[in-house]
Symmetry: D2
Subunit: 257 residues, 4 copies
């Protein structure tokens, strides 16, 4: 009998046991475009109070098998791949609840606001698939923008401005069709201004104008993200952190719908 | 009327609004010993759908006032200080739910196992106080140890060993008397062996002996932490992450009682 | 006259002025294989004591232009792309010394040692190109492995084992033909054992055997990397950091040839 | 014969071998004030091509012994403590070159600019002592401030503002009397404005006014730090990184005198 299959000394059920921060290469084809990810993958299953340990290598085998099929069959999203892996695990290893997550980056091609030049913008994305009888997914994006303080502007005509980061996390049934691109767009639209990697003079002037026309607290950004996320029809959690230019610390806001 | 006190454009309640990662200096006197912390402090209150923003500077004023009293009156724990700050905030700013957390380090003086030399061991600690009608606290410690694989040992007589990190988080009513030191002790006792900053030859031999006598999976470490935490009589969450010596990735286990 | 082109208040020459941690998408074709990177790019030029500032957006334009050509002309390495960018910058912006660096990851397909299964291993890589009259490059790889302590093994027959990270950095003239793959191989061969993402039972036994047959201090790993790097015929710097399983701290070794 | 004292397989001299990121508790008394540090300590010595390894535990013993004397004799600076430790190591272990560094934080009590309230500001500091025949030290401070873009302001009357971080590193003979506080002051004075943890309305208005009166590029901040550091009469290196509010990436400047 394998060491893992014995009775554990302490008979306690565990919720998550598995692999954390495994890096690998994943190629996704989606609507005619190709995306290469080298994500950090975490995969966990639960463990009954009757068994000492899980078989870690089976989790990795399932990841590798799914990726090999990938090359032939072309998965169309990280979610689909994640579900495929969890289904393979269920054949090799009993579990009641399983989850797999991918932390990666999504490069998007955009146009600068005035000069209309091409620019690539890279965003942090996080995709999780959960099975606990039904299939669910959690999608998360983190997007850079900025805040311009409305209070100081009102009081003195001058104000402070800073980089901010917005985060949107959506939890829904697996089949729901929500793209990371749409979610990124919701967050970007919720700042004082969008930001860009390339800015020609006319673009920079446009971004500065936009910031001054849209003074926003972190509270405003968070609420705007939530308001715009209502269209997804799911549970949504939004955060905004602002790296204050007048303080050493950050300001933060968080809410849910 | 202050900008913050106006109606927001999007009428959505927010759960957490405030300051993140403020650093300051805190001196605690506890049972005759003095502890200096330069923690990262985060403090959040909720915000009704009727107000555009909170008054951030009032949160900071309350922190500073509480710390100044500290110098005269001597607080005896980060929890007590946190509650004092949240009580001050309630006078200056309406809220239904408030929380403050301190991320810091706790240096403890220990004896090496055999040579009985003095050594200082520093652990990461996290203390949170929550008010939402009643007062609660969340205490968390992170402790370094190791795992020695029982499966490989059994199969081949030889095995792999690695650094691991254990984490214990306890949530309870504010008045409950639980010390971070006791929690650290629970985690340290749950590894294949404790580790030390100083190890003379005889101590090193003792640690290696202890590791080989206590082969443990991350699952075993997590369950052992939970089993030993039953004495606290509270909701406890335990984690163990093992920085595998035979893999690039980590293995992980998590459970709750 | 542009603000940047004015005389600065303090007439001091600066060595590095530019962009740090810009993320973008880069596709490299090399020996029939395709590699997609989303690296962090930093690009700096020097600035004479006669000018207040550099024109930051020109650096970004050159990156974007080079990447667009890329799509048509297919660059064969990050080094070649970096040189292309720095050459473009020289047309748009005076400088005496310029440098560009890419921090990225390299996924390599390997076979497990015994079961001969395919596995993907991802390594951190760093490529820098410098122009200061002549063209140079600096190549760096970071590779995970392990150390098994020879001293404890000798003294007590038992020992401690832990994850370690090796780093090799090579500085040479631009034209020198050295691949990141060869450098990764040099580091991997220098540990007590290579590590793998996938390990079937027979592979795990092989890795454990290899560790026990090759006890090594961080000093040994560092010297072995340097010894094996002599074949490159360049200035080489090697480091090894070992995440000790018997201590909270790490041990470290560094040398140059 | 100890394993460490044998001949190594590869006869290569190593420049730095030792302990990295050891955490401990240090109490410094300096001009009537007490400072508690829980720094990360790294300590390295060189190793001849004739010996396989150094005796790591002797380095740690020397740190502990020096800290125990500390309690009785009161060291007056991290530099003095570092030199004491390196001198102890020289008795227990041969070396040609040794170095020790402390990464810590320095909390300073300040007054807000207008309301004259007390506020604590915490800065990252780094102290290194080197012995290679003579005694030298390297002092480094990292300070948060901000930049307001002079170019955008000039072109459009409006501009962008962001958090920035300045760094000053000074290398000099050990006996030179330079305080970290003076160095922090030099960096803080070189931004568009100083920043504060507490800001009452009148203070915030003052900081915003100061930013708008002192538009600065990262190049300006770097040069200003260097210009002000001339008074120290040593080799100085300055850096400024600006977390742009209109871009996802950062801008950077670096120079030396």
């Amino acid at each position: 009998m394998n060491t893992q299959d014995r009775l554990p000394e302490d008979r306690i059920k565990l919720k998550r046991v598995g692999i954390r921060d495994l890096k690998t290469l994943i190629k996704i084809k989606r609507k005619g475009k190709e995306y290469w990810h080298t994500p950090k993958i975490s995969i966990y299953i639960d463990l009954s109070e009757e068994r000492k340990g899980i078989h870690m290598s089976r989790l990795i085998e399932c990841i590798i098998e799914a990726l090999e099929e990938e090359i032939k069959e072309e998965h169309y999203s990280l979610e689909a791949l994640g579900r495929n892996i969890l289904e393979k695990v269920r054949i090799k290893h009993t579990y009641q609840r399983g989850e797999i997550s991918f932390s990666s980056e999504l490069p998007l091609i955009k146009k600068t606001p005035k000069s209309r030049k091409s620019t690539v913008e890279v965003h942090d994305v996080h995709v999780k698939v959960i099975y606990d009888g039904t299939w669910k997914k959690v999608l998360r994006v983190e997007v850079i923008g900025n805040t311009l303080c409305p209070h100081a502007l009102e009081v003195s005509g001058k104000t402070h401005i800073q980089r901010a980061k917005g985060r949107l996390e959506i939890e829904c049934e697996f089949e729901k069709d929500i793209s990371l691109e749409e979610m990124i767009d919701v967050v970007e639209e919720s700042f004082s201004s969008r930001v860009y990697t390339l800015l020609k003079s006319e673009d920079e002037a446009d971004v500065i104008k936009s910031m001054h026309e849209n003074p926003m607290f972190v509270e405003d950004v968070t609420r705007r993200i939530l308001e715009r996320s209502k269209k997804f029809g799911c549970r949504a959690k939004a955060e905004c952190i602002s790296y204050e230019s007048i303080h050493r610390h950050n300001v933060y806001s968080e809410g849910e719908i």
